[in-house]
Amino acid sequence: MEFVVQSMVMGIAVGSIYALIALGFALLFKATKVLNLAHGELVLFGGYLAIALTGVLPFPLAVLGTLVIAALLGFAVERVIMRPLFGQPLLSVIIVTLALGYIIRGLMVGIWGGDTRQFPPVLPAGLIRLGGAQVPQLGIWSALTAILLLAAFGLFFKMTYLGIAMRAAANEQLTASTLGVSLTRVVAYAWAFAAIAAAIGGVLLGLWLGVNVALGFVGLKALAAVILGGLDSIPGAILGGFIVGLVENLIGGYIDAHIIYGFKDITAFLIILAVMMIRPYGLFGTEHIERL
């Protein structure tokens, strides 16, 4: 019983971060139809950069700086790589994002080295008891931050002009374009927001686990979340993030501890395969009907 409660709280805490990262992923796919396999590297980028900046700036300013630089990176990716490749076949775009991931990972490791780096203690550490389960305090803080940000993103899409334009472009590119929505701007902002969401995820996970190259694999967990929720559904991505977090910690954690060691790490991929077999377009995704 204690295991169940403990795993569920942990699952929700981790899941909230997955949800945040998956949100950027789904947003990018919805607006640009690009499956960004460099998303894990964007998480890595946020983590490494924030650590480097905390060396010279106070923590809140460092995080702010990280987000600004992540946004700039997003804009740069759109301008330099994605715009010339607009309308290219699917494989080219997938490979370009893989190559982008190579470049970001290479730069991060080349500049700051491959060792695990820790943030200075900015959030209170230690365990607290929550309904009979021991939970790291950091987990609660990061879950709260993630949920707050998810709400902020939600408001942004409902309330602001840009958010509505982005939703319009995602819904029907051609129509939105004729009504005066600049597609290049929408794509640029989609990349920027994806990079920001990934960077926040990177900082939160980095505070919790430390930053090293393995952080990039979170991108794959987010991929599982997005596939589960439906590639082009933002609420689906958020729900998917929480489900992946829960399943990974509850079921994966149980099998890991009692049956096969290391099972937790592949739970995400089993989720992907299961969704592919049963419902490839995910829980809330639009089913693609192909006509000749």
Partner: protein, 347 residues
């Protein structure tokens, strides 16, 4: 393949029209290439190991070229098939004492079956979703190998050998490899020009339209996956016997991405592409490895950033190629040849 033909090069029989080497340029080129490859050990000296690595990866990349370049099915898990081939070969020769040729054929067969099994869902899920499913498959195979072999997953493998002859040196391995390399390359070229290849290309261009025209989608998609895996299995088996050691680290997602880079850099939809791409990628990564000691003398800090530098360079080359020359090296070569054909009066 040879869509653009020099003026005056017309065919009078179907046999001539379907010839693999259809112009004098290719016939002369191939007649020079084979002796050059056979003489490579004398020309390259101790760097012959480069040719061994290029050859092994070229065989694997040829499989991916059939699958992705000609059948249009994206696979992000090609290294997993290579791992299957390597481990089957390793187990067969180490645990059960099979001779190298038997182990190699066994590796190809098992890899083919794995490929066909992975190919089955490609009827239902395609494009992006298929890419993600193969990515998941890649990680599952990695995980299974580590757990099935217990711990690190490293196995020692006896050297290759045919009959009583044991392949000991790099040069001996090179000649063994060369036979398989040429054979598998020509086999792939023959598949592509046969009705199978035409069916593959029809599936690539529009699979439902192909089905309406009477092409059995299940059969050709599964066959394409199986063939791709068979090539990867052959490459894996050779890799195992070449290194005399297999570890899962050789077959990670990074190797899969290397394979994709090879066929993209070499040129998709070209039968020369995988060979050119493999040469390019191996030269890039091994060249940096060879140059590292030299560079450290000039720049002492380079030792730490050698591996990341390779990744950055690699990514930039791929992005640059995709933006400026999506046809890859094969297309660049073809353009160069056309430039020479028309010189000095272009147009």
């Amino acid at each position: 393949m040879a869509a653009v033909r020099p003026c005056g090069d017309y065919k009078v029989s179907y046999a001539a029209d379907m010839a693999l080497l259809d112009t004098a340029f290719y016939r002369v080129g191939f007649a020079l290439l084979v002796p050059a490859l056979a003489a490579a050990p004398f020309l390259l000296g101790r760097y012959i190991f480069l040719m061994n690595i290029i050859g092994i990866f070229a065989i694997g990349a040829t499989g991916l070229a059939i699958l992705t370049g000609f059948t249009g099915q994206i696979s992000l898990g090609h290294a997993a098939f290579m791992a299957v081939g390597a481990y089957v070969s390793a187990f067969a020769s180490e645990r059960f004492g099979f001779a190298f040729p038997v182990a190699m054929v066994l590796a190809c067969l098992v890899a083919f079956l794995f490929g066909a099994a992975v190919g089955l869902p490609s009827l239902r899920i395609k494009g992006l979703y298929l890419a993600i499913a193969t990515l998941a498959f890649q990680f599952l195979i990695e995980y299974m190998i580590i757990h099935a072999t217990g711990g690190t997953g490293a196995i020692l493998v006896p050297p290759a050998g045919v009959g009583g002859f044991v392949v000991e040196t790099e040069v001996q391995f090179y000649y063994l490899l060369l036979v398989l390399w040429l054979g598998s390359g020509i086999f792939a070229a023959n598949i592509i020009r046969s009705r199978y290849g035409l069916a593959f290309m029809a599936v690539r261009d529009r699979d439902y339209a192909a089905e309406v025209l009477g092409i059995n989608l299940l059969r050709y998609k599964v066959l394409s996956f199986g063939l791709a895996a068979l090539y990867a299995g052959l490459a894996g088996s050779l890799w195992a016997h070449y290194n005399k050691l297999v570890t899962p680290e050789h077959f990670t997602i990074l190797t899969s991405i290397d394979y994709i880079a090879m066929i993209v850099i070499g040129g998709m939809g070209s039968i020369w592409g995988p060979h050119l791409g493999s040469a390019f990628v191996v030269f890039l990564s091994q060249g940096l490895k060879i140059l590292t000691p030299l560079l450290i003398k000039v720049l002492p800090m380079f030792g730490k950033i050698a591996v990341p530098a390779r990744e950055v360079l690699f990514g930039m080359v791929i992005i640059g190629l995709l933006i400026w020359e999506p046809g890859g090296l094969a297309m660049l070569l073809r353009k160069f040849k056309r430039y020479l054909d028309l010189w000095p009066f272009a147009y």
